[in-house]
Subunit: 294 residues, 4 copies
């Protein structure tokens, strides 16, 4: 029986920086705590929102350890450990396991487009060194590789590869995954504006940074789905859609950082070359948030 | 108050041909009747399924008249009248109105990509000569023009333009339509594999040729949505998804014609250059249909 | 030995309309004559520039006959006879042959995307009824079908299919055509901004509407290539590039009609839904033309 | 006056690994020497071919120093120093300058799609810490960002940004660059199958890994262009086109490594997840090489 430790809302914290663009671990812990208090069903540090690829090895380790300390097993944790080389991916995956992560998330990063066989060997090499489950992440926009349902099927044959996060932004992929991989496949939506369509398609959960800004609405959407109440799900979804579109269009780290500041919280700084939203963009975000919260 | 005469399942009959590749009007009427008997909420002749662009003016008129005779006001009718030139579009739209059509469907066909202003003037010129409502059809794959939500908003300001059929295959378009155009916008799904996601997004109806082959399942999906029963809708949708994908992949006229033959009915012939499915494709379709019906 | 009657600059006249949007045959003849006088090596009526798909059968016939009268065998003629149905394509191809056309050009128009086999059967059916050569036209943007080099190879096995017009806008296609089909393949460039790259790749000719506006530069480019003078070809090409980009961006019939008026000639009217360039666009075209001609 | 130190064939060495997947510096030096001996006009270590993003900081430094030692100022050197963060890019650029590099090449790597302003600030921050020239590299397929001609124009206003490498694979970009940026813009082709078209468009040079396998043909193409002999350039280009297509399709590091082994030279190993060509692919490459060399 495959281990599938996630369901519902899997929340992605940002990795905040201080004025010297160093990772601000105390602020990171505070942000993780906000997500936990607001009801997230899982915490996923070092994702795209957490600017994983912009961090040094030491920073990744510090963020991983800080997450474990702050979550303290209240909910399951999903740690991003993707790296261009197989060796480094193994290194970070083992570090996460030892630190206490529930599972790791791996996208096949690829400067050079990988073949299907290379991708299988990559996951296989990492999986063989781990005992915790792996979530495979498909997001061609950032990885440069679009994994077909057939390839995902091969990956799911590796014993501890048990979950798929799908972020192409095309709901038909989820339909095909479920038809191709069977009703029991555990797939998660990683495309915010697809939240409603993905749950309608049977997604197990939603991997999202939006609980940093509107945790109640995020939970309400999931609850409506759990209650088989499509009318309510639709109502709740359309209330938050403008925000979902905005954070994707502007880039999650920039948009969440700005949103935290607008809400009176502390989102810290970004690391260059990433820069804060412009004043016009911030004003637009402020309007969207105030219309949701009125 | 805008007139919105359609809701639910709007069924598209094929235009069958005889052995000399002439339109077979008696067989067409029989196919329309099958759709009515099986519960379709509307009948839409001369759509893509009905190979509108492959017909002569006289054939289009004969099909329009045959539809009116056979439907006899039992359900509303939606007649395709699109043409490359504005003059011909007006001609066929007026013919449809005089023959008794409830509404007409118009896609901005464009060998030369039309500007937004040209598209507005085209619809405006046609609308000014008609009293019945117009459904605007967005399908960049066949028209070569992708109408933005902003353009669709302009078109909806024309008094008798009251409905939108959206066939890009991207459910996010429907979300944006509803956000941009308001909760009361009447939009219809024209992409078969998006049926579930579109209803979840709030579509008023589904424009589809699939009731030619599996009318019960089509109606069941719509009924589940009406009953706010997402679990049932999901179950019914996944039962028919392979067929929805197949008919889109192979081309609706080819696939529906072959399916009718497999079901023991008469789908007539196709007009060249369109040719019947290959033997392998027919065998695949037979398998899909028998798995649905077992 | 295959008949390949074209080489060099194959000029495309517009089909001008009068104030009632009727085809203006006397003006058409005048435009054909301008092209001949300015040195075109071939005349191609009823192309995209000539808005073939917007014309009735009778209008196509009248334009074909007017071309033959005006050209009077001074240069070879290439008549567009494409149609969605095989029957109509045969009809117009035979008409062109009887009227005296040197060759016909056929693009596989397809509302429903055709399979490779359907395309081969379509060309085969037409070719079997003709004695003059056929130029196959690949332009996925307007036909909806992108013919692979492998498919083009199959078509060239039909005896009187002897030439290929390639308009994808990707010069690598021409390289692959020549590698795949052999050094003797006769291919023609149909993408104006690729004129230099296509000749560098070995194209036999350039199918273009631009001689309507700048015949001297067009001929100079071809002559430089004939003289193996790349430096001169480059210089002449860059002088006209802004115009080549403009006429493609705005649509050939609109841009050529406006350009003729700017040059003090008569381009007639367009047929709706096509509308003239806006004032701003015309001003931009005027600037481009005056910079070329200064 | 802007410093533009490159012209002609800029050759990209691979970064070879040993059996433990460690960088093999002695073998790297040997490969650099082969390129020099065969006539390359410049040497560019740590490019895509040199798997820059798969190396640690220490490895990048070792490769940079080995290049300087081996080249010993015989030709100019162009060192890849791109990194996701601005700080790291500055670090490696300064290292290269101190080591003696003639210029550095920088692509705006972006996990999160950068805005135009972020890209300008990124280059500006790096340029302000350097005295040697920078070549800006546009390759949306690997960087995830497609820099418009307008943005490139802004970058060229930074004093030591003096050169552009264009790798979209679309020759029209080069035409637009030259029209937009003026005749004096120094642009280089980075798309191997576009070599002929790019030189015809006026490219200053060709950034390529293919001299590792067929140095004579690469030089002959450049010489033909220098001699204004398009006919010869065409002949030489078509002789090597199959190889150019192959190395791009299979990925440069894999294809060059395999090709070196086929030629009896030592290409070392690859670093996982990159794997050697399959046996079938190697056989295909062997055939291509033997047809070129016969």
């Amino acid at each position: 029986m495959k281990s599938i430790p996630f369901k519902g809302i899997i929340a992605y914290p940002i990795t905040p920086f201080d004025n010297q663009e160093k990772v601000d671990i105390p602020l990171f812990k505070k942000q993780v705590d906000r997500l936990l208090v607001s009801g997230a069903h899982g915490i996923a540090p070092l994702g795209s929102t957490g600017v994983l690829p912009y961090l040094t090895d030491e920073e990744k380790e510090a963020v991983t350890e800080a997450t474990m300390q702050q979550v303290a097993n209240r909910v399951p944790t999903l740690v991003g450990v993707s790296n261009l080389t197989t060796d480094k991916t193994i290194y970070h995956a083992r570090f996460a396991e030892k630190a206490g992560a529930t599972a790791v998330m791996i996208i096949p990063m690829s400067y050079w487009k990988l073949t299907d066989d290379e991708i299988v060997q990559h996951y296989d090499a990492v999986a063989s060194k781990l005992s915790i489950p792996i979530m495979v992440y498909n997001n061609p926009a950032t990885s440069g590789v679009d994994m077909s349902p057939a390839l995902l099927k091969r990956l799911l044959e590796i014993p501890n590869v048990t979950m798929i996060k799908e972020s192409t932004g095309d709901v038909q992929r989820m339909h095909y995954l479920r038809k191709e991989l069977g009703e029991d496949v555990a797939f998660y939506n990683g495309s915010n504006p697809l939240a409603l369509a993905a749950f309608a398609a049977g997604a197990n959960g939603w991997c999202t940074a939006v609980p940093n800004l509107i945790p109640e609405l995020t939970m309400q959407l999931y609850n409506a789905i759990q209650n088989n109440d499509l009318t309510e799900a639709q109502r709740v979804f359309y209330r938050q859609l403008d925000l979902l579109k905005f954070i994707v269009a502007k880039g999650l780290p920039r948009a969440i950082q700005a949103g935290l500041h607008i809400l009176g919280d502390d989102g810290g700084q970004l690391r260059s070359p990433l820069k804060p939203l412009t004043d016009n963009e911030s004003a637009e975000l402020k309007t969207i948030l105030s219309q949701i919260n009125k």
